[in-house]
Subunit: 353 residues, 2 copies
């Protein structure tokens, strides 16, 4: 109910998703007086959607702390509640990110051993699958070495299940690839990520820089939520600037307008390749339940992409695999501390993932 | 001597610069046996360049701390020394950034009241001048509220003298534009930047996000060196990715290759607009002397752009203006502390800038 384009975009996205995933069932939370007629106009959704009425709506301007205390009865709260009660496998929302994270944390609770949950996003890249995973994109404004290690574990698990990569390559974002640069917590995290690569089922490639985020050197980029959020928005802003300049230049002269007609197919392929809607869905990691956060301004295509991701993660049994991986990492950390042998990384054999 | 393309690119850039700025004189530091013959082959440089021999070279792999202790006799050291001795008004180098900052700090010393010097860079933007200023881009990996205030003062001064903006708009980089978000030091800096806008001669626009970096909402973006460096490299990486994808798509089919021929002029104009060589030159701010750091891989065009910036800053009397502005900010800070009236910002009238 609280997305920028209102419930119509959600219902249109549901219709696209229902057509491509015949085995999916949906619980739709919101004002039934508004949603009922919309669903009625989509024959393809008949029998596929359970409508769950909620009186209230979380808006984009509501403060997360306020929603956390007074959010009961909103469609967002109801949506998270359906995951908590085991009715839904994955929650999807286009609403207020901070409020969604706050409600998710308070209702679903953190996985045992997780200090800071994280938001993982996909980033267009030169990798064969076309995307890299980056986290945290803004669940919190800071991260200690412990948190960064957990982000590596969770990000690798997400890359295995969301991008089907057997042994993802994990990198730690820093200002230089030389080991003497960067902040103290990054140096500590660097050593711990290297030691935990067997437990986490990933290959550790060391420090990476901003220019490596879209590269094929790495599959999972680990950073704190402040840096991740700035990087994400800088990347989006740069792409938008280039796209605007390209349009302006193709509109500049009669000849360039003619050239644009010839180049139309090419420019459309480029646009599709960079289309943020294709990778729509930040995933909240580290909770007892999976939540997919769609872009607030997502249209039907974007909503369908978020639902596709949710379906894929549900079908892969992602939540149980992630929980098992985090539990084994917590055990390895305890063993590590107990035996004081930092090189002991051989505890990863018994995981379920 | 230590740039990626060696001294030939420097001499070629000197020749371009000398042609466009007839009143400039150059002191060239490096191996005279190598440089002498190169200069001899450029008749346009006759009588314009003083060659200063230096035996040794700082390489890209040298550690800054090592160069700081043992750098005497290198061309980089000699170059900074010529500013310290008052022979040169501005130093320009394509060498190792960390080493250049280390040598600059130890030889030129910080301006009174400056805790952390900063690197300011230009960023392609929608502003009428085509660029925004951002700092710190990586002189240090962190910044306290005090430092961020100094960055605002220095960045505004640079925008006045480097981009000819009378009253630059300054923004503080954060993860959200709402005031309740972000790190503690940013909230403190937010209040202080707002109070100091008269002393600093800027308009404070508040928090900005990564997506605002290339926008026309703001002229000067203030952040710590870790975040600034990640943002810079993420922006460069994103631009490179789009450029590569564009080339691939125009090469994909015979028809698209034909379309590329028609679109060539348009694509060249776009390339020129985004060309990082046009904005080549990070400026070190906060020292007793101005240092321009060119990109390590700069070619003749890039070197000439860095020299153009150096010439413009020298002609504007930038170093004295910056020093006066910093001094007035330090005085205002002391008055502020002494009188304990945080709203007193009326001390900016007596500055020279």
């Amino acid at each position: 109910m609280g997305g920028d384009r209102g419930p119509a975009a959600i219902v249109a996205g549901l219709a696209l998703s229902a057509a491509e995933t015949p085995d999916a069932h949906y619980i739709l939370h919101g004002n039934s007086a508004e949603l009922g007629p919309m669903l009625g106009r989509e024959p393809s959704l008949a029998g596929r959607v359970t409508l769950r009425h909620a009186d209230r709506v979380v808006t984009m301007h509501d403060k997360p702390s306020h929603v956390m205390r007074h959010g009961e009865g909103t469609s967002m709260w109801s949506c998270i509640e359906s995951v908590k009660q085991g009715e839904a496998t994955v929650a999807v929302s286009c609403g207020n990110t901070g409020a969604l994270m706050a409600v998710s944390v308070i209702r679903l609770r953190r996985l045992p051993g997780i200090n800071r949950p994280a938001i993982a996003s996909l980033w267009p890249s030169r990798n064969p699958v076309g995307f890299n995973v980056m986290l945290d994109m803004g669940a919190d404004v800071k991260a200690e070495a412990d948190d960064l290690l957990q982000f590596a574990m969770m990000g690798a698990s997400y890359a295995r299940n969301g991008l089907k990569l057997t042994r993802p390559r994990v990198g730690l974002l820093n200002v230089g690839t030389e080991e003497h640069k960067g902040r103290a917590e990054l140096k500590e995290a660097h050593d711990r990520l290297a030691r935990a690569s067997d437990t986490g089922g990933y290959e550790y490639v060391g420090f990476v820089e901003g220019s490596d985020i879209p590269s094929d050197r790495v599959d999972v980029i680990v950073t704190d939520g402040f840096t991740g959020n700035v990087a994400l928005k800088t990347g989006e802003g740069t792409a938008k600037l280039i796209s605007d300049f390209l349009k302006e230049e193709f509109n500049a002269t009669p000849f360039s307008r003619l050239a644009a007609i010839f180049a139309l197919g090419t420019l459309r392929r480029l646009q599709k390749r960079m289309d943020p809607r294709r990778a729509n869905g930040g995933v909240f990691l580290g909770l007892n339940g999976t939540v997919v956060k769609s872009h607030g301004s997502a249209d039907a295509t974007g909503v369908a992409a978020a639902l596709r991701l949710a379906h894929q993660l549900a079908a892969a049994g992602f939540q149980d695999r992630l929980a098992a991986r985090v539990a084994s990492a917590v055990r390895a950390g305890q063993d590590d501390a107990a035996s004081a042998t930092p090189s002991d990384t051989g505890t990863g054999g018994g995981t379920t993932e």
